[in-house]
């Protein structure tokens, strides 16, 4: 709250300064970047924003948003674009591109990796989209409080769905993505078949049937900061979480939360530029800078999310304690990546069904 007041006050002061001193305004550019808040935004401020401001003098303001395209659509349709760059997920990036809410990104202008490999080959597959460039890969995992369970905590994804063995409430993000994948994985569908099964009406029914078995035990969360709080307050015995939030809570708040890596669903976050921004060139320059090798590697200092460039992975020193928590650090159990194309095509239908299922 205070941060927001500060930033809007800054914006007012900034706007006044620009109005009064038109000669300086050309040099004093500023960008507004919308991201998910908390430890994640903080890691971006440290690894992208500060070095970029130091290099170019462009001021960067951070705002939090909820990741739904409606917020972007409202700005574009009203012709009052307030943000320049947004951090979003791949399904939203694809849909936003199709709906004409995001600027196209010229992939040929992305800088090569620190080791000289061209960008097209340096990025891991699926990170260069028509309107967005991947910056990190995070993982959706189950977390629990070790203080409660000791050595007898949940070990596999099936335990999340086993209310008899692990009684108590579970936290889940109020979103069909990850929720439906997990239901199928826990119901015995192989990692490689999840989207094939989910693409059929029978598969969707199967997922919801599995979810029915724990429906009354679910506490639904909507913001990434909630899972650590739900665990800490004892409201839930285990929860779906973005893995970085839990590692952050363990470090900063001295919690003893543990992660179940089995069944992890990896999802990329991408940077995109909002259509109609007045600072298009600066925004493009910033996105190119942020998605280059060194800033991506630096980000791992602040949060254990994996960089999207192979060359960045090589730049993370072995001494960095976050290395062990990167989603691809060789964790035990099943691991899968989200299928953004699938979610773009079926997201609306599945969301409708999910809303109706929730409300019943």
């Amino acid at each position: 709250m205070f941060k927001r007041i500060n930033s809007s006050a800054l914006a007012v002061v900034g706007a006044a300064a620009i109005a009064v001193l038109p000669s300086i305004s050309a040099a004093q550019q500023s960008l507004t970047v919308a991201s998910w808040g908390g430890a994640y935004t903080n890691s971006q401020v440290e690894a992208y924003h500060k070095p970029y401001t130091a290099k170019t003098g462009t001021k960067i303001t951070s705002v939090d948003w909820g990741g739904t395209l409606g917020e972007i659509s409202a700005q574009v349709k009203s012709g009052n674009v307030k943000w320049d760059v947004v951090d979003l997920e791949a399904a939203e990036a694809l849909k936003g591109c199709e709906e004409g809410l995001l600027e196209k990104i010229d992939a040929s202008k992305l800088p090569p990796g620190a080791d000289g490999v061209p960008a097209a080959k340096d990025f891991i597959p699926g990170m260069i989209l028509p309107c967005a460039i991947g910056v990190i890969v995070y993982s959706n995992v189950v977390a629990f409080d070790k203080a409660k369970y000791g050595a007898n905590g949940p070990k596999v994804l099936e335990d999340f769905f086993n209310v008899a063995k692990f009684p108590g409430k579970r936290g889940l993000k109020k979103d069909p993505s990850v929720t439906l994948e997990w239901a199928l994985l826990a119901d015995g569908v192989a990692v490689g078949d999840v989207y094939k099964v989910l693409g059929t009406p029978a598969g969707v029914d199967r997922a919801f049937k599995k979810l029915d078995t724990i429906k009354s035990s679910i506490v639904w969360w909507t913001a990434g900061a909630q899972p650590p709080q739900l665990l800490a307050s004892g409201e839930v015995v285990m929860t779906h979480t973005w893995h970085g939030r839990i590692v952050d809570a363990n470090v900063k708040e001295k919690k003893d939360f543990a992660l179940v890596w089995d069944g992890q669903v990896q999802i990329p976050d991408l940077y995109a530029i909002i259509k109609g921004t007045k600072n298009l060139e600066a925004a493009q320059d910033f996105v190119r800078f942020a998605s280059s090798s060194q800033p991506l590697a630096d980000q791992a200092k602040y949060i254990p999310y994996a960089p999207t460039r192979n060359s960045s992975l090589a730049l993370i020193p072995a001494s960095n304690p976050n290395r062990a928590y990167l989603p691809n650090a060789g964790h035990p159990g099943r691991s899968m990546s989200t299928n953004s194309q699938f979610w773009m095509e079926n997201g609306d239908d599945l969301n409708k069904k999910f809303s109706a299922w929730l409300a019943k």
């Binding site: 909820g66 739904t68 395209l69 409606g70 917020e71 659509s73 849909k95 591109c97 199709e98 709906e99 004409g100 409430k169 109020k174 429906k215 679910i218 506490v219 639904w220 909507t222 307050s233 004892g234 409201e235 095509e345 609306d348 239908d349 969301n351 409708k352 069904k353 809303s355 109706a356 299922w357 929730l358 409300a359 019943k360």
Partner: protein, 408 residues
């Protein structure tokens, strides 16, 4: 004669000047109401009826379909396919095909893929015949169903959003019928919204009436002090009060710990993420809206009336029911109406303290705005809620009389 006429004229002039001054004085208020209330409200109503995506994106197709105007169980002739091909080419050029596909998909699940498949191929082909081209892209194009959906959407103004908000839809054959079973939720949600608002109003009356009575019958000094205690939470942010209830009611929260400490319960109770938490918090938040109008009305009821009733032989109960209560009705009515209408639109409290089956209609308005980008449906849901409130007010006016309202 002459002087009378000029006097009338001057009088009229002065009157007009006075009127102009009065208008000038209310102009800021008028502009404020126009910009902050009527304009957004108008936009919502407009959005719920106006939907130009398909007629603007596929203008030739809409026209060709209207010209053909064949029965709904037949597929259209070649010129319609050709018109669609032309429209599609332009849409791909203008990058508007995604928005059209999403609009079709809102009406009928699965149309998005079918439409995009044709859009992806259309630029590669120069000349017709187009019917076989579309059929090769997806066999659904050779079925009448998809054409029915396009015809339903071909006019820029339609009632599809309202149908959808009431769990109905216009079928591909043009008839109106219910939504598929697994997508019928809105009527349930409206009833739930009314139910929660009704429960909260009832709780507020039960708690607020004795409180207002007490306040109205205490000495001024004590009453003022207690009134501040009522108003203090009223001045606190809604979000703060909601999260405070979360702290109070959660598993290891204040209330559960206290009850466990007293050995009243052995296992913590589920007090939050269910209907109980929602009703408790909403009652607390809305209570001042009930107490304040009742308090101001009760203060003005002369004590002598009840005394007179008692001295004429009425028992305390009869005196209360027949003499005191009827005089409280204006305050009670105003408070109840205020609480009920405010409760109908609650969003953040059910979102934080409720479970998935405690969400009210505003949650679905927000969901359609933000996630599904279905602003038309969101507008229709909001407009129906507004209609319900106006209806309620009209019923109140009939039963109690709106002139009787006393807000403080």
């Amino acid at each position: 004669m002459d002087s009378t006429a000029s006097l009338t004229q001057r009088l009229r002039k002065a009157e007009r000047r006075g009127q102009m001054r009065a208008y000038a004085l209310i102009a800021p208020l008028f502009i404020f109401v126009l910009l902050s209330f009527l304009l957004p409200l108008g936009t919502v109503l407009f959005n719920s009826l106006y939907d130009p995506v398909v007629p603007q994106g596929l203008p030739r197709t809409a026209q060709a379909l209207a010209q053909w105007n064949g029965p709904r169980d037949q597929i259209p002739p070649e010129p319609v396919y050709a018109a669609l091909a032309q429209d599609l080419k332009e849409a791909v050029q203008a990058q508007s095909h995604g928005a059209i596909a999403n609009r079709l998909n809102i009406e009928e699940s699965g149309l998005r893929t079918i439409f995009m498949r044709a859009a992806r191929r259309v630029s590669a082909q120069e000349e017709g015949p187009w019917a076989p081209f579309f059929e090769a892209a997806d066999p659904a194009w050779a079925q009448p169903g998809i054409w029915g959906t396009i015809r339903n959407l071909a006019s820029p103004t339609h009632s599809l959003f309202y149908l959808s908000a009431l769990d109905s839809k216009r079928n591909q054959d043009g008839s109106v019928g219910p939504q598929p079973e697994d997508q019928r939720i809105h009527v349930t949600i409206y009833l739930r919204t009314l139910g929660v608002a009704f429960t909260v109003t009832l709780m507020c009356i039960l708690l607020g009436f004795p409180l207002a009575y007490l306040l109205a019958h205490l000495r001024d000094k004590t009453a003022n002090l207690l009134l501040i205690l009522v108003l203090l939470p009223f001045w606190t942010s809604l979000l703060v009060r909601t999260t405070a209830w979360m702290v109070m009611l959660q598993k290891e929260g204040v209330l559960n710990s206290f009850l466990q400490f007293l050995h009243v319960i052995s296992e913590p109770l589920n007090l939050v993420h269910n209907r109980f938490g929602v009703v408790v918090a909403m009652t607390h938040i809305l209570l001042p809206f009930m107490v304040l109008p009742m308090y101001s009305v009760m203060r003005q009821i002369p004590v002598s009336y009840v005394r007179a009733a008692r001295s004429l032989g009425a028992g305390p109960f009869t005196a209360f029911i027949r003499v005191y209560l009827p005089q409280c009705i204006p305050g009670l009515g105003a408070g109840a109406l205020l609480v009920f209408i405010l409760a109908l639109g609650y969003y953040i409290t059910p979102a934080l303290l409720g479970g998935s089956t405690d969400q009210m209609i505003s949650y679905f308005v927000a969901d359609n705005m933000g996630r599904s980008l279905n602003w038309g449906l969101a507008s229709a849901l909001a407009a129906i809620l507004l209609g319900a409130v106006l209806l309620l007010y009209a019923v109140y006016d009939r039963l109690v009389g709106a002139n009787n309202l006393k807000l403080g």
